[in-house]
Amino acid sequence: MSTLVTDQKTEATRWTGKNVPRKEDERLVKGQGRFADDIRRHNEAHVYLLRSPYGHARIRSIDVTAANNSPGVICTLTGEEVAVLQKPFMEIAPPPGGLMEDYCLAVGKVHFMGEPVVAILAETEELARDAADLVDIEYDPLPAVVDGEAALQSDAPLVHEEAGTNVVWHGVYDWGDIQGAVSRADKVVKIDRLHFHRFTSTPIECNAAVVEYYPGSGEYTFWCNNTMPQFAAMFMGPALGIPTDRLHFVTQDIGGSFGNKITTYVYLTICAILAKKSGRPVKWTEYRTDHILGGSHGNERTFRNIVVPVMADGTILGISATAIDDAGAFPRYEPLGSVIWSQVVPNVYRFRDVKIDFTQVVTNKCPVGPNRGYSRLQHMWMVERIVDIVAHELHLDPIEVRKKNYIQPEQMPYETPNGCVYDSGDYPRCLDLALELIDYPKWRERQIMALGSGKIIGIGIGSTLDSGTNNFGQARIINPQLPFSGNGEVSNVKLDLYGEVVVTIGTTPQGQGHETTAAQVVSDILGIDPDHVRVLIGHDNARNVYTGFSGTYASQFAVTGLGAVQGAAEKLRREIVQLAAGVLQADESEIELRDGSAFVRGQEQRTIPFIGLANIVFANNATMPAGLDVSLNCTYTYRPPFSVPDVERKFGNLTLTYATQIHACVLEVDAQTGHTTILDYAAVDDSGRLIHPQIVEGQVHGAAGLGIGGALYEALEYDEEGQLLTSNFYSYKAVTAVDVPMMKTAAIESPSPFSPNGAKGMGEGGGAPLHAICSALQDVMRQTSGAIITDSFNPSERVYWLMQDTTKGREGVSVEERA
């Protein structure tokens, strides 16, 4: 069920803004998609990766003799060889994180359970796996560190001795005047510890690649599902000691990524080395357990010593806290998460005095990757917890506290304390809509009626932002040496030989419907039906256009991707109009494009179809009107209006658009078991101008489902030795359709004044279900033990214990009255 509440009517367009049938669906529902694992190359060989059973251990010896002699085995690869064939991957961090050595296979020791130790290449997948059973490895287990805070202890085991510390990056973010705010406040709420747990999104398609090496040109081709190939190339080229243009990436259909497929360069490097070593195309397809063990996890973050100056009426003045982010065993995409959260420093609120002492550490766990909602959801979860805890402690209504602190629509565009500019939005209105959708007064009544029934009803709100279109200049706040800033995407729109309209983009869609929305944009500009626009998806840096930022991640396609498509289509339109005007001997201003033809306005008989125009340029160019220089092949790079942030003050506009999500959740807890059932759920979004409302709603559903899973069912739990206890779908309870309630959705449209089309990126979402569910559980605790929800993961058992305990559940939270 979805309501579109649009009052700012955008100019009439024929296709944009409509739910045209998705172009990609027919092939996908018919099983005709082409995924990385569908690729076959002549003479291909298969890789099996033997992984570490230990969280932390020194490798005493590896004996691959028997494996090498096993039937069908072509070769093996160990860390010892890798240390010669590969330089450690580049690190984004300056020292100490920058000193950590990362190779594609474990060298000398294993740093996490599931780290690849030996690669076996054989004629079949099965023979490779059988041979792996014959590899003899002797390990000396080492004590493991599996907790971010523990990693900071002086006697903690070191994950990387070469760095001399487990700290990847540390920095203090200090904006406004938190001390002043504390002295101004009526009360100070203190929270000792909040913990955002480790979970991940689980794409249906695991990682996969076919990798081929051509000795003739020294080029490697990767048919793969990496979703940010030029990021991968930047790591792989120097590591392999080759120019990055020898790394040719090809992607096609991708079965989900959620950011998890960005850091697969480690595995692609194993395949590349094997391909060169064996002279055979190498095929690698991950098993699910491998994916959960060694793919990439979401960031786990602990917040300590949270101090919140507030006024008696619930006005929040600021926040100070220490954040410890657990990146797992290798930084890889990190420590970018150590700055990316600062895109949304105050979340949706007006407070301006903020101090966050941020440390990122390594532990003996699977490395993290930029998982959906990356780094912002952890931070916004903390802010949302603070809002609920403040309301709880001051006996105020958490909904009123939110409304009181929200940034107001008339303040837009709003500059945050660290210089980010919230482009547009109306948070109070989104909240009202969400409350309307769940019929809030009804649930407040039922909540009272339910008292004593053994079921406790809780109502909660999650207010979040999805900041989209990164300014990569923020990386300099982490490491001033990095030569990055801005962002951008490129597209080519052309007429082909027979007048077909063909679009290419550098992106790597994974279900976001790029083919459809790109076609909608082009259709409106060129006056043709989307069915007649061919969009060639996928990244191919040997054949297609691309930029260094190309890919699909971080909520930006609607802005950067479609911005590029729009620019290229407009360029093509100008050329078509010029050419048609020349051929039809009319003024350019008289030409209109309609149904795949150019017309002289008002004179139906003076017309030429696109095929005719294409014919002139491609096969009949002696008839080209004199003085014209058109190619009908137009490329445009969209570049968002950014400047380089001030690294000293950690200040600047870090993202271009800010989509809003306000979720309302009604749940019921079984007082005797702690079992939680969601009774009603509403998600209200403001993603600016909607190009295709149904695709947006699909993203909303998906993000909500993942968030609900994260809040109630999904946790990547390690024991103290670094054993992952939830490494398959039996123990890692990925959310399914049966777990997700019927959702009510609504959308408003506050067009972005900064994006080329008024749209905002929105695919990631801000983890609103985690916030909303914790908020609703806090409402449950208000009626029972008064315990504080301090963890983002709340399975039945945790809820049960929280309800039992009226003293322990409140430990660590206090309110200091100021004079």
Partner: protein, 294 residues
Amino acid sequence: MLLKELSYVRPNSVEEAIELLNTYPDAGILAGGQSLINVLKMRIGAYSTLVDISALKELQQIRESMGFISLGAATTYDDIIHSPTIMLNRPILAETAIRIADQQVRNRGTIGGNCCYNDPTCHFPPLLTAMGATMLIAGKDKRSEMTAEEFFTGYYQTALEPGELLVDIRIPKPQRPYGDAFVPLSVGGTDVLNAVTVTAHLELNAEGKLTEVRLVAAGVGPRPLRMTAIEKVLDGQPYHLSDVASAVATFDISALEPPSDVHASGEYRRQMVPVLTERALKTALEQVGRGYRE
């Protein structure tokens, strides 16, 4: 291979199956494969030969006799769910089977496999124990039977000897008004990963008093656990018993030693036993009351 290489044989009769089991060294029985294949795939266990009994029609019969219904060991969950005999006689079997996983698993998974695998989260071991089922076993030149209670001996352990096959499960058809209830506590979302379950069965005698009370907790120890203390208290009580809670309280949960794992701590499991027991009892009592009044 996903599995270690092994041989596969498909007998045409129970007799042949037993013959094969006793001929091949290290032979294992393959029924629905919904647990076994996973075990082999993860290489936690291995067999050199699999004897596939899933196509044996004689092991898929659901029959009704005078005092009981009997289910062939290779009867799938889906067959149980769609069997009129079961719906008429012991609907709880179908109601429980439909809770298991998804349609694909229910198409292949069998009641015999479920019992012989005897994972502490499996649905049928506690249910059959509470129903007072009898397990019929065939071995080389011998047939034997035992109660469900005797059959389930420990985590993943049964009283089956090597070379033996579970062939039939016999479930009493109560001759008096009765109530059955199966109450799981699922910790992994909707109806998966039952950390603890309590199953209740009870009947009413001619005087309207409770009899044949069987209460079974699972997930709290190595095997389905009869809570005889509560059973004794309830025996002979009137069915409109109001104080279920104090009957349940006679069971000493402090003596339980439930396992702790990533899904639930032992202490939580322990605390849940009386909660679920009360619920199971109430449901069963309600049912038996309806039966009595009718």
